[in-house]
Symmetry: C2
Subunit: 304 residues, 2 copies
Amino acid sequence: MSRLIECVPNFSEGRRPEVLEEITRAIRQIEGVSLLDASRDESHNRSVVTFAGGPEAVVRAAMAAVGRALELIDMEQQTGAHPRIGSVDVIPFVPLGDTTMAEAVDLARRFGEQVARTFQLPVYLYGEAALRPDRRRLADVRRGQYEGLKEELGVNPDRAPDFGPPRLHPRGGAVAVGARKPLIAFNLNLATSDLEIAQHIAEQIRASSGGLPAVQAMGVLVAVPDGRQLAQVSMNLVDWEQTGIPKVVHEVRRLAHQAGTDIDHAELIGLAPAGALLDVAADALNLRGFSPDQALELRLARER
Amino acid sequence: MSRLIECVPNFSEGRRPEVLEEITRAIRQIEGVSLLDASRDESHNRSVVTFAGGPEAVVRAAMAAVGRALELIDMEQQTGAHPRIGSVDVIPFVPLGDTTMAEAVDLARRFGEQVARTFQLPVYLYGEAALRPDRRRLADVRRGQYEGLKEELGVNPDRAPDFGPPRLHPRGGAVAVGARKPLIAFNLNLATSDLEIAQHIAEQIRASSGGLPAVQAMGVLVAVPDGRQLAQVSMNLVDWEQTGIPKVVHEVRRLAHQAGTDIDHAELIGLAPAGALLDVAADALNLRGFSPDQALELRLARER
């Protein structure tokens, strides 16, 4: 498992399935890379692809994906609800296995320089790879979106990219390239349709309002397959080693009890690090002296 | 992960560390094999080694391990509490990943023939690899142990080996070679020191007395690191896809409550399939629509 990197590029196209197919085909053609997930969101007009492999293979696959996306997605034509600055909006690199964050940061910066040079694309480094503190947050990098950036680039020196020309790519706009920890998208559906309870719990637990560190949360109303409408606490855990699933479940359950309800069930969206799920098992069993290395396939993957 | 096999040979020597070191060295020298675990039990005078890899590499490593063990362990000198018939007492092959049980059975039989021919060692096929129904259970194969088998071999045709000569190897005795599913050694320590409660629960849940299928269980008294003596339900789950950890935990908890106590904590001995642990997480969270493929490292291992 040594030197594994995950890459999760987001593309500003979610309505034409053939575009996502072309992009994933370009990624799959790179030897040493495994395509793990590809999902398309029509309403947000956005797609997210997840792949992983050794650092050099991942860089080659990301370059190939950007090349295809610039040919197929024209930002002058693109509309959609999701904030975005380019055809390939954001490219985070995530360290897996024994790879360190420092290696992911180094890779993101090298990739950023290379993609800017190859495609004449303005690149903003964000997250752990940011070169300026005011570019750590993606929301700050994307301020004003594609249209706003088009007006400011070349005019406002504060918006100058970290790599590439001080003007948008004619079709592809700009791209944010970064490094971050794995993110867990995890929802708890409450045994109530009272949206206010979910919103109150979300406010209590999210980091931005002084709750649990590294937790983003909001309350929403969702329709579940059995026909019920349930209030949902929808979360991103952005550093599960700091605040993991067991901690948020205990806290949401406590707050739900206070509000006279309970957790009905949970949903995990997409992929999560195995360690974060094994922590749930160890917590539920009160398992003494447990190590994730006791999971046979993980131990084997680490050895090989 | 395709075509992976695990091999878990048991050796009748647990008091001389250098013997286990020599055996694991022989295994490690085979390319394509990962040594996953090696544990030595002084009181039982027995060692267990776990390794895995592709079928051909695993056979080569098992052959090398048998060769070293026959040089280093003399059954004429060996004593110990654990039932055994030879220097290498038992060699189970366990299908992992996409490997089927039929492939593990085939491999065990080919290996059995090869090890008998190479070392002039009588081989008994057991478990899923048994050629006779009365040799499926290891306890039946080992009846009378080394000393009893020595008297019966060549005299009682019913004890004739499946491969190899009808007489014990002069130093190594005989060996049982088989195929089985992964085994989970899992203990639940109760919040009581009343051994009878653990014994009663064990009797209620074990398959042999009509409890849960594929569960072996006994009640014992153990000293835990914090100084307490606790009654323990000690289990082997021999087919976790039939009866998994969540099921036995729910059942033991229910019976403990009936007896006026509860589960204090759990222990997992050695390795367990990741899927068996992810089942615990999914059960604890009431996780809807979950697939073990959502565990990032497992998905990646499967893809590669």
